[in-house]
């Protein structure tokens, strides 16, 4: 007797099972892709922030002088005077006694970028370190208890606060990140 083949219900059930399998595997892979993107973003942000903090901390540790201030729209750094609240959008670091060598970190409020300017006799180089920075007053000089100073105390702590926000994108929700660090200059004079 010849085989009759599959009946219509058998084929329908087999197809349904196959579709369920394929659907499940595709859903799992899409979920994995989403997890991968989230994880990748988190790791990138973490790596970047720690590397940047290490760099800034190293420069402040070893610097000759450090000033908190604001960077004007013309790109000019204006340091805060003794008596003013030591909180601003920029930080000026003199690595040595030379005033021609300096490093400025600041937030450019027009495009919400966090930038670094390195000035040397050979020229000036500006680098964008991060974007989507939403807070303006990112630098503060504090005392050992975390209170913002109103004077140029020698042994102050430089506190950095960066807040990032990115709106929702394809397959990714809105992302918010706040990063804080404190650094004290080592070479006190």
């Amino acid at each position: 007797m010849l085989d009759k083949g599959f009946t219509l219900p058998e084929i329908l059930i087999a197809t349904t099972v196959f579709l369920l399998m394929v659907g499940g595997i595709i859903a799992a892979n899409l979920f994995g892709l989403q997890m991968f993107q989230i994880t990748q973003t988190k790791l990138n942000v973490t790596t970047w922030s720690r590397e940047t903090i290490e760099q800034i901390a190293g420069e402040i540790h070893a610097c000759n002088t450090v000033w908190v201030g604001n960077v004007t729209t013309n790109g000019v750094f204006e340091g805060l005077l003794n008596g003013e609240t030591q909180q601003g959008s920029g930080l000026l670091i003199y690595p040595t006694t030379s005033t021609t060598n300096y490093i400025v970190y600041f937030v450019n409020s027009s495009d919400e970028t966090f930038r670094q300017i390195v000035a040397a006799p050979s020229g000036t180089n500006t680098v964008i370190l991060a974007d989507s920075v939403t807070n303006a007053m990112i630098f503060a000089a504090q005392d050992l208890s975390g209170n913002v100073l109103t004077n140029n105390l020698n042994n102050r702590v430089i506190h950095l606060t960066l807040e990032f926000y990115q709106p929702a994108r394809f397959m990714l929700g809105a992302d918010y990140y706040k990063m804080e660090t404190s650094v004290t200059r080592r070479a006190l004079q």
């Binding site: 369920l20 994880t39 973490t46 050992l144 702590v157 990140y177 004290t184």
Partner: protein
């Protein structure tokens, strides 16, 4: 194809997909935990920097000594990490200052950042440093 076969096939598929999803979730959880460890370490480092800024000057009279435990009480902070949906994780910063030697005067600064990962066991990140006066 019998009903038993269909059920077994579905069960195997479910287990396979469940395993894949569980793997992804584990990786994400491990990433979040690693970030929190780094954030806790950074918070502890902040307190170390604050302790480094404390005046301890033995070369003048009266001696200035801000490097004492009362100036660094326990503090509850939030750990910085990316992701708006991840919720905040709090940590407690504890500072211990102890004298290592009087001649020369050297003190040990130990900062513990204690936090809890998703309600599980407590995790402590510790950073220690030593310092002398006039630094």
């Amino acid at each position: 194809m019998t009903l038993v076969e269909v059920v077994i096939a579905l069960a195997i598929t479910g287990l396979t997909v469940g395993g894949i999803v569980a793997g992804y979730i584990y990786c994400t959880t491990a990433t979040v935990k690693a970030e929190l460890v780094q954030a806790a370490s950074a918070r502890a480092m902040e307190r170390i920097e604050e302790a480094r800024s404390a005046q301890w000057n033995t070369s003048i009279w009266p001696i200035v000594d801000q490097l004492v435990a009362t100036n660094f009480p326990n503090e509850v902070v939030s750990l910085d990490m990316p992701g708006s949906g991840s919720g905040g994780t709090s940590a407690t910063i504890q500072t211990t200052i102890s004298q290592i030697s009087l001649t020369p005067p050297i003190r040990n600064i130990r900062v513990d950042c204690i936090w809890q990962f998703r309600g599980a066991t407590l995790i402590t990140n510790t950073i220690e440093t030593i310092r002398a006066p006039d630094q």
